[in-house]
Symmetry: C2
Subunit: 163 residues, 2 copies
DNA sequence: AATGTAATGTTATAATATAACAAATTTATC
DNA sequence: GATAAATTTGTTATATTATAACATTACATT
């Protein structure tokens, strides 16, 4: 029962987060090299902090952590890094939470749909062709040209339902 | 070419906004009567201001207008009214804009998908069964229980494409 | 090294939203 | 109708999220 459209699933107990994080940073380095942009230490650290878990992270929480580490001192520092990472497709912003998560497939151009668990806070990312298609088809039938989509489903993940 | 799933279409030049607004207020009165809640003058006025156009309205713009009219003086006034109207399903919040629009079908329980024109700013509301179904089915297949959905499509409406 | 560009620092402020408590208004009960 | 209870609104203060504007530093190119 493979499910290609899930870019970032909800995590099991045995999720090997260290390697998961390393892979994310690896991909970020690759992405930036091929784009000819600079993944500076600051930007890299912000990405690393966002990837600290699979929870959405708030800008000012990042700022607090950076301040503790004596790097990045004020809001613009963080927001500029976030803007950079968003533009490079390395992270996503969740509009319904004003928070940020790492992108599950940074090397692949895609749009996303997010599942947000209201109990544990974890976020899963998918890019489902059926969802994309039905939305595109509908928009098109109304003469609407789609430029971007915000799709965030709030609810309860399997683990939390199981209790 | 009826399209039942469109609760609030993009508007033509000949859109009769006065009657549109009156209908919205009428429905709000009905809704509140049947729910046994109070559509106070303040709440009614906020709803009216939101229905002033089919553009999303910002909380602090509402506040400015209320101040001009010497009713409602501080942010909590506005936010409380907005919370009330949201709870009653008389308005919706657009998460990607931090702004509010009137609900196209307040008397009918529904979820919504929004089309937001980046050129003219107008918003259309739909509740399309195909979209709902594909999202629900997908969530379900992942063991996810849906509680709420945020679906906002940004792009260009037909009028703006035509120029 | 000199120069231009990109990135970061710094200060200030804008924009969005809520907490906490007081006063007024409405509703329910006597 | 007077009183008590509940709801709504007022008021002050503050929290949270984000950007503007300009200075400084780091890096890249010549």
């Amino acid at each position: 029962m493979a499910n290609d459209s899930v870019l970032m699933p909800f995590k099991d107990r045995d999720h090997a987060h260290q390697s998961c994080l390393e892979k994310a940073l690896d991909q970020a380095v690759k992405n930036c090299e091929s784009s000819g942009v600079r993944l500076t230490p600051l930007r890299r650290r912000v990405l690393e902090l966002i990837w600290g878990s699979h929870m959405p992270v708030k800008a000012y929480d990042l700022l607090d952590q950076l301040r503790d580490e004596k790097i990045g001192s004020a809001p613009p520092t963080v927001y500029r890094s976030l803007d950079f990472l968003l533009e490079e497709g390395l992270i996503h912003k969740l509009q319904s939470l004003n928070a940020y998560v790492g992108c599950g497939e940074p090397l692949k151009h895609h749009t996303s749909q997010f599942l947000i668990c209201r109990d544990c806070g974890e976020v899963a990312e998918m890019d489902d062709p059926d969802i994309q298609q039905v939305l595109s088809r509908k928009a098109e039938s109304l003469g609407f040209q789609v430029l971007d989509k915000t799709i965030e489903i709030q609810g309860l993940c399997e683990k939390c339902i199981a209790g």
